[in-house]
């Protein structure tokens, strides 16, 4: 099951390579493009990136294993990342995490049965002024309260149930 980017995305990668003196620099941008396409970067994603950039695959593995932003396995439709660092901790991120687990049954570091949610904790998201913060896919949700989290989760469930955005 080899993974391949679409033709346009491959062109995009080729274009990004020209920004740098060496194609190795384009490893992170290329992995971002892979992640945009399917939400995660796995071993086959690595293989494909290495082929596109014409660099040894170990360079790509090396980067993938270092940078925590790229998931190495499928993360569902909504990848929920809650900041648990100092500023969010002071403003109640722990209650928020407990709420996600206890009320919504979204367990840490596991895909939910319906394949919708994957939740993990992250370090500082750089939005400490609006703590607690959570990131769902690319979007930041700030100044969260437990009610707002309820609404968000319900909203996600609804929009995927109606077959929208699929």
């Amino acid at each position: 099951m080899a993974f391949e980017l679409t033709k346009e995305k491959q062109e995009l990668v080729k274009e990004v390579i020209t920004h740098y003196p060496d194609p190795r620099s384009a490893i992170l941008p290329a992995m971002h493009i892979v992640m945009d396409e399917r939400g995660w970067v796995g071993d086959d994603g690595c293989q494909h990136v290495a082929e596109l950039l014409e660099v040894p695959i170990i360079y790509v593995y090396e980067a993938l294993s270092f940078y925590t932003y790229f998931p190495k396995h499928p993360v569902g439709k909504y990848h929920i990342q809650v900041c648990h660092n100092i500023a969010c901790n002071l403003r109640g991120s722990e209650e928020l995490i407990e709420h996600l687990v206890n009320k919504h049954g979204i367990i840490e570091n596991a895909l939910t049965d319906d394949g919708l949610f994957y939740f993990n904790r992250v370090e500082c998201l750089g939005a400490c002024g609006n703590a607690p913060v959570m990131q769902v896919n690319d979007e930041y949700y700030e100044d969260l309260t437990l009610e707002e989290v309820d609404k968000l989760i319900e909203g996600f469930k609804k929009s995927s149930g109606n077959g929208k955005n699929n």
């Binding site: 920004h19 740098y20 003196p21 060496d22 190795r24 620099s25 384009a26 490893i27 992170l28 941008p29 992995m31 971002h32 796995g42 071993d43 086959d44 660099v55 360079y59 090396e62 980067a63 270092f66 940078y67 925590t68 932003y69 790229f70 648990h84 660092n85 100092i86 500023a87 901790n89 002071l90 403003r91 992250v122 370090e123 500082c124 998201l125 750089g126 939005a127 400490c128 002024g129 609006n130 703590a131 990131q135 690319d138 979007e139 930041y140």
Partner: protein
């Protein structure tokens, strides 16, 4: 709100992400002026040197001096890297700039690169800042179209290209040599200095790494002159600084404050004091890597590099984290320790192992299962980490946690002795299961035969 933004006025102008709005407010005038009046790079460096602008990423190194280190007698390309890998807990000032005033940053980058004759520059975003990255990409496209970036800019014969680059969730890439490694597609591991990046950086070429805030201040300094920038602050800390304030305060947010401003006045008038009418307990003034201050120290100091250093902490990146009197500082120490443990790049043993030890020891305290002399163990580990690593990440775990243990020893003593927090009255973590007495294997273990080893290896060979 008494304090108005001066250098970073653009943040408060609505619609300033658009080129037209920025130009209406005097945008790209300095860049045009430099190219039209043929102001020499040396003159630009001289102005920035005179202004006394210091790197706003945390280290506070004079910016003009840094630029002047770039060797000009080389044929290699010179690079400018803009550090927007803002991951220091408590700091969120750069995000404000890139999302609300990207053109001012781009103009600053163009001027800075011109000053040391750099041909290509990159903005390194942290991977999570997708929104800011998109805004900057749009701004760059506009600037390219208007002819501010590209080949033969405004007919002057000067070429410059600006690209964006996204990191991927590694705090350590905010360190300049780690950022360079990350830009080269490698793991973000800091390099040993010297050679300094200004001489040998990105692909062994001369490279300058500057923080977003530093570069954004440059156009305004050129516009108004170094004397204008000198009207604020002290002799050694000039100008203004963005402070990002969070934690238990009434008005969290980003504020531009003149250097040397009274901390007490700022805290009471701008931040609105501690939330919910509680008392102040501790403040970490410059991002999570700097030592914590007691209220007395905090209110006595002024908001500049030297004064904060005199009062036992550091200005750092200006990320102020305020804690009220109901905060358990052991919990704070655990959260910080776990952050540095997670973010250690793993290159230097004292940091890789030491951060883990500190983290696990503080977790033991939180379980109520710590040894009575555990504080001495921690202090020994701190001594072993501090100053023994390539980059300052090792020091960064030591400074805040050691200061918490030095300044609030009774909280740690109480937790260690009673097995519960002095503030919340309970242990934060469940106890670890005690090992049974007979945990040693009673029967001899049957090692697999050699053939089994081989078959096992072939089965578990890496596949996916």
């Amino acid at each position: 709100m008494a304090l108005e933004k001066i250098v970073f006025k653009g943040i408060d102008i609505p619609g300033n992400t658009d080129l037209k709005v920025y130009e209406e407010h005097g945008g790209y005038e300095q860049w045009k002026k430099i190219l039209k009046d043929k102001i020499t790079p040396e003159e630009v460096i001289e102005i920035v040197k005179k202004s006394g602008l210091r790197g706003r990423g945390g280290a506070g190194f004079p910016t003009g001096l840094k630029w002047s280190f770039v060797p000009q007698n080389t044929k290699k390309e010179k690079y400018l890297l803009c550090n927007c890998d803002e991951s220091e807990p408590g700091t969120f000032k750069d995000r404000e700039i890139i999302e609300k005033s990207p053109h001012q940053l781009i103009e600053g980058m163009l001027i800075a690169a011109y000053a040391f004759q750099g041909g290509v520059s990159y903005i390194y975003f942290r991977g999570e800042f997708v929104k800011g990255w998109k805004i900057c990409e749009a701004a760059l496209a506009q600037a390219r179209e208007a002819g501010y970036i590209g080949e033969n800019i405004l007919g002057s014969g000067w070429n410059h290209q600006v690209w964006t680059h996204r990191g991927a969730g590694a705090y350590i890439c905010g360190e300049e040599t780690a950022l360079i490694n990350s830009m080269e597609g490698k793991r973000g591991e800091p390099r040993i200095k010297p050679p300094f990046p200004a001489v040998e950086g990105f692909y062994k070429s001369p490279t300058i790494v500057n923080n977003v805030e530093t570069l954004t201040a440059v156009p305004k300094i050129l516009e108004n002159g170094p004397e204008w920038y000198h009207q604020w602050g002290t002799e050694r800390s000039t100008g203004t600084k963005l402070w990002s304030c969070c934690g238990h305060i009434s008005n969290p947010g980003v504020y531009e404050v003149p250097m040397g401003y009274s901390m007490k006045k700022f805290f009471e008038e701008e931040l609105g004091g501690v939330w919910k009418d509680r008392a102040l307990k501790a403040v970490i003034p410059g991002g999570s890597s700097t030592p914590a201050m007691t209220p007395e120290e905090f209110f006595a100091c002024k908001m500049d590099y030297e004064s904060i250093a005199e009062h036992g902490s550091m200005l750092g990146s200006g990320g102020m984290i305020v804690m009220d009197d109901q905060t358990c500082l052991v919990e704070v120490a655990e959260v910080l320790a776990q952050f540095y443990h997670h973010e250690s790049c793993g290159q230097c043993t004292p940091c890789r192992e030491g951060t883990g030890w500190v983290h696990r020891i503080i977790q033991d305290i939180e379980r109520g299962q710590a040894q009575p002399d555990v504080k001495n163990v921690l202090f020994t580990v701190f001594d072993e980490i501090f100053g023994n690593t390539i980059c300052p990440l090792g020091d960064s775990i030591v400074m805040p946690i050691k200061s918490l243990m030095d300044k609030w020893p009774e909280e740690f003593d109480y937790y260690i002795k009673e097995g519960k927090s002095k503030i919340t009255g309970k242990a934060r973590r469940p106890k670890k299961k005690e090992m049974p007495d007979n945990w040693r294997r009673e029967k001899p273990f049957n090692y697999p035969k050699t053939e089994d080893y081989y078959t096992d290896f072939s089965k578990t060979a890496h596949s996916n």
